[in-house]
């Protein structure tokens, strides 16, 4: 059973050969993140909610509507930015939004379109053809079209993939502002996206949810367990081999490497874990 509705979220990763799982959470602020190991089923999860893919087993619902039998009702409340997003290159940004608004059956959409162009900093390029847009502009146009009609559920699949750092930061800021009024389901494999944009998160691994809760709670799970040790460059290889899977992250310095390790190590000092540390510790445990 998977249900997406406020305030409860149930998630199941339904893929051929992957057993059905059931998880629930009670998040208060209507934003939701799934942080997923590559190939674990994050796009499958988003596509099931988007009614693009039926669950191989079990049942999935959005606000009480079944994703298999009640697709139209779900689509009426849906905004969707797929991972592989494309827009009609012949149209200008404004025309594209108008075209999508017509397809969505929105009457007199001009005011809404102008507001979205303004919100996503696209007003200046609204008269340009979509074919001339950069990757970041195209993503912003994608989220604008998803928000047309003010959907109750916004599905965003890997929104920052392929963007340069500046655009990535800007896009995360946009995403942060979208929660509160609606459910935002964001799927990503980038820890920074989650750290900046989400309060609640689920971590999927091989179709199974291995953690569900707040970002702060996940970090708290590993407080007092992450140590950092400075290792000379010439001994890094052998030390890493000794610590094995306990190694979380490494960072280059002046001839030395700062290595974060799960569990106590000789010469190590206790540090406050980052979300990345906690995520990696969870995945490797």
């Amino acid at each position: 059973m998977m249900a997406l509705a406020s305030p409860d979220v149930y998630v199941v990763a339904a893929r051929p050969g992957v057993p059905t799982r059931r998880v629930s959470s009670t998040h208060k602020r209507l934003s939701y993140c799934s942080l997923v190991v590559n190939g674990a089923g994050k796009t499958t999860f988003i596509r099931i909610i988007a009614t693009l893919l039926p669950p191989t087993s079990g049942k999935a619902t959005v606000f009480g509507h079944d994703v298999v039998h009640d697709k139209i009702a779900i689509r009426k409340m849906l905004g969707y930015l797929p991972q592989e997003y494309g827009a009609y290159p012949k149209l200008t940004g404004r025309e594209y939004l108008e075209y999508i608004a017509i397809l969505k059956g929105i009457r007199r959409p001009k005011k809404q379109i102008e507001a979205l162009l303004l919100q996503f900093h696209l007003t200046e390029v609204a008269k340009r053809r979509v074919s001339s847009y950069s990757g970041g502009m195209l993503r912003r146009l994608g989220i604008a079209q998803a928000l047309l009609g003010n959907p109750k559920v916004l599905l965003v699949d890997e929104p920052t993939g392929g963007l340069d750092p500046e655009e990535r930061v800007r896009f995360r800021e946009f995403l942060m502002g979208l929660g509160g009024e609606r459910i935002v389901a964001l799927s990503t494999h980038l820890v920074e996206d989650v750290a900046m944009a989400c309060d609640q998160l689920a971590v999927l691994r091989q179709g199974k949810i291995v953690y569900q809760g707040t970002v702060a709670e996940l970090i708290k799970c590993y407080e007092g367990k992450v140590y950092e040790v400075e290792v000379p460059e010439d001994t890094v290889k052998e030390r890493l081999a000794v610590w094995g899977k306990r190694v979380l992250t490494t960072k280059r310095g002046d001839g030395r490497r700062a290595v974060r390790v799960l569990g106590e190590v000789e010469g190590g000092r206790l540090v406050i874990p980052s979300l990345e540390d906690a995520y990696l510790a969870l995945i490797r445990s």
């Binding site: 596509r47 988007a50 009614t51 693009l52 893919l53 697709k71 139209i72 689509r75 009426k76 849906l78 905004g79 969707y80 797929p82 592989e84 997003y85 494309g86 827009a87 009609y88 290159p89 012949k90 149209l91 025309e95 108008e98 075209y99 999508i100 017509i102 397809l103 969505k104 059956g105 994608g142 079209q145 998803a146 959907p151």
Partner: protein
């Protein structure tokens, strides 16, 4: 509605396609084309239907390249209609070409096999992939053409003649030719409706 249709026509057509009906109109006005000529009609009946599966293929190929199909999921009911309108928009220059090239009584002779092949390519293109759709359309055309050339007597066969596309030189009465052409047209429209239903169920393109 007009605004929406203008978008679909823009998305469906490259401005260069209007050259085809314009060229045929010029040829007819200058007397180079004689619409009543049986040789001209036979030529068009053979060659013109080829354009329809090619157009279906190009329509689907562009949709794949633009990667817009998944976005349509948030536009309930309208995906099938949008694809139908867009396909009919791609046919607009072809209709005008026929109008420019032949007499009104011969429209059916030229258009019906094309609509049949176009609908077939669109349906199978959506269901099984654009290449498969194009292949099936071209295969039907190829078999019809080959049999018409090498075994013309088969055109007189009661059952086979319903499935063969080029009938202008067949040993059939005008009424028999007409009934088969109407059947091709009906089949073409039926396949188009099935294709639009299939479009509503299609959620993404299979990776190549």
């Amino acid at each position: 509605m007009i605004r929406y249709l203008s978008y679909e026509v823009r998305l469906a057509l490259h401005p260069a396609v209007w050259l085809l009906p314009s060229l045929f109109a010029i040829l007819r006005l200058t007397g180079v084309i004689r619409p009543e000529s049986t040789g001209w009609l036979g030529f068009l009946e053979v060659m013109f239907p080829l354009l329809f599966p090619l157009l279906s293929f190009s329509l689907l190929e562009r949709e794949r390249n633009w990667r817009t199909l998944e976005v349509w999921v948030a536009t309930p009911w309208r995906k099938a209609a949008a694809l139908l309108v867009r396909y009919l928009s791609t046919l607009l220059p072809l209709f005008l070409t026929v109008v420019a090239a032949v007499r009104p009584e011969d429209y059916l002779l030229i258009l019906s096999p094309g609509l049949l092949l176009g609908g077939l390519s669109l349906l199978f293109g959506l269901a099984l992939g654009e290449e498969v759709g194009l292949g099936i359309g071209l295969a039907w055309w190829g078999v019809s053409f080959a049999l018409g050339v090498t075994r013309p007597q088969i055109l007189a066969h009661e059952v086979a003649s319903w499935f063969l596309l080029m009938l202008s030189n067949a040993p059939l009465s005008p009424q028999q030719v007409l009934s088969r052409k109407w059947m091709h047209l009906g089949m073409g429209l039926l396949l188009l409706l099935l294709a639009s239903a299939s479009a509503d169920h299609k959620r993404s393109w299979k990776p190549r």
